[in-house]
C-alpha cells in the first residue's frame, strides 16, 4: 500500500468512548472523527452528557471505555498532546479581580500565543474594545464570555473544545463565535462544541453528534 492509499489520520478521533459514574452510564459507544477544518457540534438535551463528553475529550475526566487518538496515535488514559487543545468550559477560567487584559496575558503565558495575535487584537475581535482595564468582575456575563473567547483567539492550539460557546451572548456575540469558528476551521484548525440546539451555527464543514442521554 502506498502513502496515497491511506488517507491522513484525523486530527482527533474517539472509538467506542464511554463514561460511567458510580455505575450510572453517562454516555457510551461514542465514535467521532475530527479532521483539520472540521467543526463538530454535540447536540443533546440538558443532562444528556455533553459537558461530561467534552471534559473526557479534554482529558479532565478519564473515559471508562473506548480509546482516543491524536493524529492517529492512540492516547494513554488522561494523556494529551501538550498545547494541542484549547478548552472553554461553562466556568470561563478567568479571574474577576483581574482586568480582561491581565487575564489574557496570563492565559498566553499558560497556553502560548498564536502567531500574529496580541491580547489587544483579540479583545477587539471579540468586541471588547475599551474594556481592557476594567476589572472583569464588573463586566456582564456576556462580556466575560467575550473575554474567554478572546483567550481562545490567542491560543495556538489546533483543536478547540467549547462547552456551550453561544450561551450568555447577544446576537452580535453569537456572530462573533460563528466568525471565530469559521476562521479557525479555514485556517486548518478543528473545533468540537456543544449546543442545546437553540441556536444553529452556519458553518461550512459542520457535522453533528447527537447525545441521547441514556444510550445503554
Amino acid at each position: 500500500m502506498t502513502a496515497f492509499d491511506s488517507p491522513a489520520p484525523p486530527l482527533f478521533a474517539a472509538r467506542g468512548l464511554g463514561f460511567s459514574r458510580d455505575s450510572e452510564i453517562i454516555f457510551s459507544q461514542v465514535d467521532l472523527d475530527v479532521g483539520s477544518g472540521d467543526a463538530l457540534v454535540i447536540e443533546g438535551a440538558n443532562g444528556a452528557g455533553k459537558t461530561t463528553l467534552l471534559r473526557v475529550l479534554a482529558g479532565l475526566l478519564e473515559q471508562t471505555e473506548g480509546t482516543l487518538s491524536w493524529q492517529g496515535v492512540t492516547l494513554a488514559d488522561g494523556q494529551r498532546v501538550a498545547g494541542s487543545m484549547a478548552v472553554l468550559g461553562h466556568h470561563l477560567g478567568l479571574k474577576g479581580e483581574l482586568t480582561p487584559i491581565e487575564n489574557l496575558r496570563f492565559r498566553v503565558a499558560l497556553g502560548g500565543l498564536r502567531h500574529g495575535m496580541t491580547p489587544a487584537i483579540a479583545l477587539r475581535s471579540a468586541g471588547l474594545e475599551g474594556y481592557a482595564d476594567v476589572p472583569l468582575r464588573s463586566l456582564s456575563a456576556g462580556q466575560r464570555k467575550r473575554t474567554a473567547l478572546a483567550a481562545l483567539l490567542l491560543s495556538p492550539a489546533a483543536l478547540w473544545l467549547l462547552d456551550e460557546p453561544y450561551a450568555n451572548l447577544d446576537r452580535e456575540g453569537q456572530r462573533v463565535v460563528d466568525r471565530m469558528l469559521e476562521t479557525h476551521c479555514l485556517r486548518g484548525g478543528a473545533a468540537i462544541f456543544s449546543s442545546h440546539g437553540l441556536f444553529t451555527p452556519a458553518l461550512s464543514r459542520m457535522h453533528t453528534l447527537v447525545l441521547s442521554g441514556v444510550t445503554a
Partner: protein, 221 residues
C-alpha cells in the same frame, strides 16, 4: 517554567488585590497568641517557658485558615481546568501555587512569629532558633496543606475535612519546630530537630508538587 512564574505573579497580584483577606491568618495568629496569657495567667516565667510551643500551634492553625481558599477560587471559576489542560507540567504549576501560599501566609507568619514570642516573654537568645525553625517549617506546612486542599477541592464544604486531613500530617512539623525552640530555651542543642525539619523540606520540595499535581487531577475529575 515561564508559565509557573506567570501563575505565581498572578496569584501574588490576586493576593494584593484582596489584601484585606490576606491579612486574616496574621490577625488570627495575633488573637490566639493574645488569648494564651489571659487563659494561663500572667506569670512571666511560665509564659516564657511555653512561648515557643504557643507560637508554633498558632502558626499551624493560622496557616490552615487560608488553605481552603488556595484552590477553591481556581476550581469555582474554571481556572483549575485551564491549568490542567494547558499542556504545561502541572507539578510546576502546583509548585507555584504552593510558593504563592507560602509568600501569602507562611512568610508573614515566620516574620511575625518571633514578635509573638517576644510578646509572650520568650528568652531572646532562642529567637534565632525560632526564626530558623519557622523558616524551615512553614514551607512544609504550605506544601502538605496544598496537597490536601487539592484533594478536597471537589467538595463544596470541605473546611473541617481539610483540617482533619492536614493536622495529623503537620504534627511532625509541629513537634520538631516546637522541639527546636524548647531545646534552645533549656540550654540544649536545637540542631537535631532543625535538621529533621530541613530534611523534611528537602524531601517535600521535589515530591509535594508531584503529589499536589496528582491531587489536582483527582480533584478536577
Amino acid at each position: 517554567m515561564a508559565a509557573a512564574l506567570a501563575l505565581l505573579r498572578r496569584d501574588l497580584l490576586l493576593l494584593w488585590r484582596q489584601r484585606a483577606d490576606a491579612l486574616n491568618p496574621l490577625l488570627f495568629a495575633l488573637m490566639v497568641a493574645t488569648l494564651f496569657p489571659l487563659a494561663l495567667g500572667p506569670e512571666a516565667q511560665m509564659l516564657a517557658r511555653v512561648a515557643g510551643g504557643i507560637v508554633w500551634v498558632t502558626v499551624v492553625l493560622a496557616s490552615l485558615l487560608s488553605l481552603d481558599a488556595l484552590f477553591r477560587g481556581d476550581a469555582d471559576d474554571g481556572s483549575l481546568d485551564q491549568l490542567a489542560t494547558c499542556g504545561q507540567p502541572l507539578a510546576l504549576l502546583a509548585g507555584a501555587k504552593m510558593l504563592a501560599h507560602w509568600i501569602g501566609t507562611g512568610l508573614p507568619l515566620t516574620l511575625v512569629g518571633p514578635l509573638l514570642a517576644y510578646m509572650l516573654g520568650i528568652d531572646l537568645a532562642t529567637v534565632p532558633t525560632l526564626l530558623l525553625a519557622l523558616a524551615l517549617g512553614t514551607p512544609l506546612l504550605s506544601m502538605i496543606g496544598a496537597c490536601c486542599a487539592a484533594l478536597t477541592v471537589a467538595m463544596r464544604r470541605s473546611g473541617i475535612l481539610l483540617a482533619l486531613l492536614v493536622l495529623p500530617l503537620t504534627i511532625p512539623v509541629l513537634i520538631f519546630g516546637a522541639g527546636a525552640v524548647d531545646a534552645a530555651g533549656t540550654g540544649g542543642d536545637p540542631s537535631a530537630p532543625l535538621l529533621f525539619l530541613a530534611a523534611g523540606l528537602a524531601l517535600a520540595l521535589p515530591l509535594a508538587p508531584l503529589g499536589c499535581a496528582a491531587a489536582i487531577r483527582i480533584g478536577t475529575a
